[in-house]
Symmetry: C2
Subunit: 355 residues, 2 copies
Amino acid sequence: KKNRMPELHQNHPPFGGFLAAPLEKLKRIYVSPGPIYDPEGRKEDYWGLRKCLYNAGFRPGDLVMNTFSYHLTPAGIFLDEACNGIGCITVPTGVGNTEIQVKTMAGLKINGYIGIPSFLLSLIKKMEELGYDTAQDLAMEIALVAGEILSPSLRKELNDYGIIVRQSYITADLGGVAYECPGENGMHISDDLHIEICDPTTGEPLPVGGVGEVVVTDFSNECYPLVRYGTGDLSALDADECACGRTSYKLKGIMGRADEVTKIKGMFVHPRQVDEAAAAFPETVEKIRVVVTREGVTDMMTVEIRLKKGVEGTDALKASLEEKIREATKLRGTAVFVPEIPEGSKKIEDKRNWQ
Amino acid sequence: KKNRMPELHQNHPPFGGFLAAPLEKLKRIYVSPGPIYDPEGRKEDYWGLRKCLYNAGFRPGDLVMNTFSYHLTPAGIFLDEACNGIGCITVPTGVGNTEIQVKTMAGLKINGYIGIPSFLLSLIKKMEELGYDTAQDLAMEIALVAGEILSPSLRKELNDYGIIVRQSYITADLGGVAYECPGENGMHISDDLHIEICDPTTGEPLPVGGVGEVVVTDFSNECYPLVRYGTGDLSALDADECACGRTSYKLKGIMGRADEVTKIKGMFVHPRQVDEAAAAFPETVEKIRVVVTREGVTDMMTVEIRLKKGVEGTDALKASLEEKIREATKLRGTAVFVPEIPEGSKKIEDKRNWQ
């Protein structure tokens, strides 16, 4: 199970005994939050993402802006290389710097986007705010989105700007797992993988249609051959014939997490990371939890903190807590001091609505 | 001249007429501050950086942490790929996230570093602060540094930790221009390039030994063949025989800039960017300049602002100025309100001392 990986990796560093090739055979090592070290081998198209991009509609000569982070985590680089691999020209923009990204988008007449779906909408809104005419300056035609649940309303809003949006299910250890076809009705499973949907508690496979944890066995990876790997993501299998003609099973979208690990702004946040931030303040913090909400298409992370008796909630303490939370989760959150955190509440309370 | 590139690119977008291949032949386009779009072709080792790394002492199997940014600007990705190209394993860490970088450095026993030299020292200091024993946990052996002048004292301090430090001169449009050999006495010029040192005003070539602008002609690039390209960097040629046996001319280190463009924390800052930030506040800002200082090995950017008559220097104004400066330069600076900015002072005043 993915949520045990940090522990397993730490007990047998650096790869928990899962590495099946000598270190010298690797090309890169990524540092996913957790922390988990994710190895990348030297095989061409190691992550199996070229077919994912081609299937989504990317073609040679497309100018593709890749807004996933290239630092530490693998999404940025592996999608960049897959994109190059099928003949696209990538523009590695990464996260943030919204204004530069908008100018680049317009200046180069970018027609492809890779990233989380809400950020694409933010870029378009920013473009309008800066006085561009989207009918003329927005050349975007196709987007491969991942890392965040795509709500039907957000997809429609992007479609209305003339952008085809295709979802994919990609993980830092397995690469491309499943992706949408033009039918836009579930994600076809990659041919190299065997997928079971299992009861998150017992680990028993469920019948087709049952909602459970996505458990993956990777037959094609000689470096890091994960067998019956519990991703922690919830989904269900769909065996119906697809209008596109593919006969592979589909995943019915990602329906949430089997554990408390939660994706916020496209990044995994683990209860452990929240505790890690709190642990830096043993004298002051009594209890802590994260509340996730959504304003428009933007995730907001509020960190509720109950202080120890007699400790004063100063601005300075708030600032250093927020700094520590950013270090631990790589996300900006707002710290608020609360008189009480309900007994038995989750460490990460997800109050987002995905309609 | 490099400082005219943003204007030339804007008049004939996106590459100012310098692109000698159709867009489809490119692999990536980077967005350097300026803004300048920098094209990358598909030729193997396009930037000529493999020899630079091998020459510096990097060898197959080395575990190399690359701390240059992979987003927008090219340094991160092109050094990552060159490193992979000679058989090293890269760990793409990028900028910031110091604590995660330190843990990764110790956890993976990283033995190679790529980045600006002062950041390497910051990482080591942070390692000590976190309670690591550098004699045991610091496996770093070799560092390729660029983007910042390496002071003799900083080199010595890093050497004292057992790290060999080799400088290189790399630009976003030309790739590897020159690099230090084990003699550590100037940088050998790459075989593919012809370099002249020219009077920055007249453009006339200077005799060997004269200090002037580095002007480069690139004979190997079919995509973006720059001829007599003025980099804006100041240096001098050294024709003396080198102890290492190489007979190529050397550059006597980079001695500053021919224009006011200044490298701060490894990033170019152009007077234009400072003006751009000020231009967002036409009602309030009368005059602005940047003062660069150095605390220990850390660059500090202070932005002095003279307000218009009757305008009050509130905290809110200070905060929004700092936000705008960060947007325009991609660097954090401190805004201070001053009663006067001396007549005729430079837009970017460099007060750093490189001893």
